[in-house]
Amino acid sequence: MQTSVLLITFLAMGLVAVAFGYVVKRSGTRDEDYSTITRQGYLIRRWWMLALCAVGVLVSAWTLIPFPLQAAINGEARSVDVVAKQWSWEIESRSARVGETVRYRVTAADVNHGFALYGPDDQIVAQTQAMPGYVNELNVTFEQPGVYRVLCLEYCGVAHHAMTAEINVTEGP
């Protein structure tokens, strides 16, 4: 996911850069007939806006239906309570099986924290905020065996970066 996001971002930013580069390169010789330039420009702008709107509708429909924060539930999920506090994690169960869906019920005992689950390849799999007074439910289906790490992704004080835990994911029943 992250690599695709990066490539799409660079591609779109590259297009913006090309548009600026094109215009800057053609900015040197003056054309006094600005009304013709604006007329042609407004025509391009109309299509440009329609294209952006069309992309927006398609991307919104593709990414919001079904609603992504509830779509990860595959059948029955095992609930695991998680309490974050400065600067450690209380996790009811630190193990899971490949293919299993775990519903982490995340809260905080003191300040805001961020419950981020890093896969064995050190990429974020999913995350939610840990907030005092609230329980956020995060459904995770483990797809690979190995050691998953929990890092705090909401700044919570001087040992924020050291607030880690591990979850072991094994194959088989």
Binding site: T9, S27, L64, A126
Partner: protein, 486 residues
């Protein structure tokens, strides 16, 4: 709608002195805080500098609060200077705003460097009251109180701006061009874009700062009365509404420099039209409505807020890409523009804003946010439209004001060094985010450190470029005369 400017404008002699003070302080503080940023990235790179976590997080708080405040003040100077062409503003109130802001700066810097306050500029409740011995309640009160004083400084200046706008245009809505947009008045192409932008900034930032004042006072009450328990989600909503609106208002205020100066270079008009007014009206509403995209990982929020955050996040990019950036490109296309420090910086600023919207909009998608939230992707996109957006706009304005943009070979080289360094820095943040490197970590794992070193190197280039542009401006500033046509 057009009225004789001279009847309403601020006297010429009053337009520059305080703006110069804002600019001088702004440029010096920008450079100083860039150095702090370089030190932090170098510490994350772990090759040249080592910082203790307590000092790192203090510097992080200083860099965040300082840059947001300075961007706001510098953009306010741009806004005030050009709005004063069209309405009669009070120079003494503008100066009082600066003095109040300096008091705020002393309180904030003192709380961090002396009181060791390190709860980040976002002061997320209830962290200021939970330092586990690292800072005192007094230090937290000074920091939060400093932000409150800064907000009062802005409100004071906005009050004067609002009154002056109403005196000339009858209402803020009329200044925003709503009667023209909705067909009650004919489109007046002489209605200044600056006035439209000022009305928008005024509306959103007064509301944003008011929300900020509420949450700051609530935080202070909690610090004094720890038994007073507040709703963490409500506090978070207020903080992110305030923070989002405030920093966006800085961008929309700084772009006034582009609207005013670029047409002089291109020798073409940048007048208002119905699409222009529609874009600014839409931006007004969307800047106020989009903040839930900061709270997508707070699943306790109603789902409709997350959906709204994603959709409005996308929509809010359209006015910038379709109207402002496109309008700027149209203006300079085959214009015979003179490329010097000021014009290059202003176009770079427009590019940074337009390009920075893309990673911001993508991060505003719930599915992406699930793996990118609070990684370095976030500083990646906001540095794009602040460092390559607001900062070049302010530098371009200062360069034009002081030397008509003609800063010679050093100025042109400075722009190139700044542009290359800033782009590399932002890209290093984005690549870090794609590699799941967390933001706001004092200590980075070995696998992430090379990205920190690239960030430090590129940040150093940014600082060098900034100094090459800003130092000659600072030398000339006290004696600078108005540039013709401004």
């Amino acid at each position: 709608m057009a009225t004789q400017q001279t009847d309403y404008a601020t006297p010429e002699a009053e337009r520059t002195p305080v703006v110069k003070l804002y600019l001088a302080i702004g440029l010096i503080v920008f450079a100083g805080l860039m150095l702090v940023g370089v030190v932090m990235r170098a510490a994350q790179g772990a090759s040249f500098i080592s910082l203790g976590p307590d000092l790192f997080y203090q510097l992080m708080t200083l860099h965040g609060a300082g840059m947001v405040g300075t961007a706001g003040l510098a953009a306010l100077a741009v806004n005030w200077y050009y709005l004063s062409r069209y309405v009669k503003l009070n120079q003494r109130i503008f100066l009082a705003g600066l003095l109040l802001a300096l008091v705020a700066v002393l309180m904030i810097v003192g709380s961090i460097l002396i009181g060791k306050f390190a709860a980040a500029w976002t002061f997320l409740y209830p962290l200021p009251a939970n330092p586990l011995g690292l800072w005192s309640t007094g230090a937290a009160l000074f920091f939060v109180g400093g932000l409150l004083v800064l907000g009062v400084a802005f409100l004071l200046v906005y009050l004067d701006m609002g009154l002056a706008i109403v005196r000339r245009y009858g209402s803020i809505a009329r200044a925003l061009g709503l009667p023209m947009l909705f067909g009650k008045e004919k489109i007046d192409s002489a209605h200044p874009p600056t006035v439209v932008a000022s009305a928008m900034v005024l509306i959103v930032n007064v509301l944003g700062i008011a929300a900020g004042a509420v949450v700051l006072v609530m935080t202070m009450l909690h610090l004094v009365f720890p038994d007073l328990e507040l709703d963490a989600l409500l506090m978070k909503n207020l903080i992110f509404f305030f923070g989002h609106v405030f920093i966006n208002a800085a961008i929309y205020a700084a772009v006034i420099a582009v609207y005013e100066i670029l047409p002089l270079y291109a020798r073409r008009p940048w007048g208002v039209s119905r699409p222009f007014l529609a874009a600014w009206f839409a931006a007004t509403l969307m800047v106020l409505a989009v903040y839930p995209h900061h709270l997508l990982m707070d699943f306790a929020l109603p789902s409709w807020m997350a959906v709204m955050g994603q959709i409005v996040s996308y929509l809010s990019g359209i006015p910038v890409l379709v109207v402002t950036a496109f309008g700027g490109l149209l203006l300079i296309y085959r214009s015979g523009i003179r490329w010097d420090a000021a014009s290059s910086l202003l176009v770079l600023g427009l590019f940074g804003w337009a390009a920075g919207i893309i990673p911001a909009v993508i991060d505003g998608m719930i599915q992406v946010n699930l793996v990118m939230h609070n990684t370095q992707w976030v500083p990646g996109h906001f540095h794009f439209y602040l460092l390559i957006g607001v900062v070049p706009m302010v530098l371009g304005f200062a360069s034009y004001l002081c030397s008509n943009g003609q800063q010679g070979q050093t100025g042109r080289l400075g722009v190139a060094v700044f542009g290359v360094g800033a782009t590399l820095l932002c890209l290093s943040f984005l690549v870090s985010g794609a590699n799941s490197v967390p933001r706001r970590f004092a200590v980075h794992e070995e696998a992430w450190q090379w990205l920190g070193n690239i960030g430090a190197f590129s940040g150093a280039l940014v600082l060098i470029g900034t100094l090459m542009i800003a130092l000659p401006i600072l030398v000339r500033l006290p004696r600078a005369r108005l540039t013709a046509g401004t």
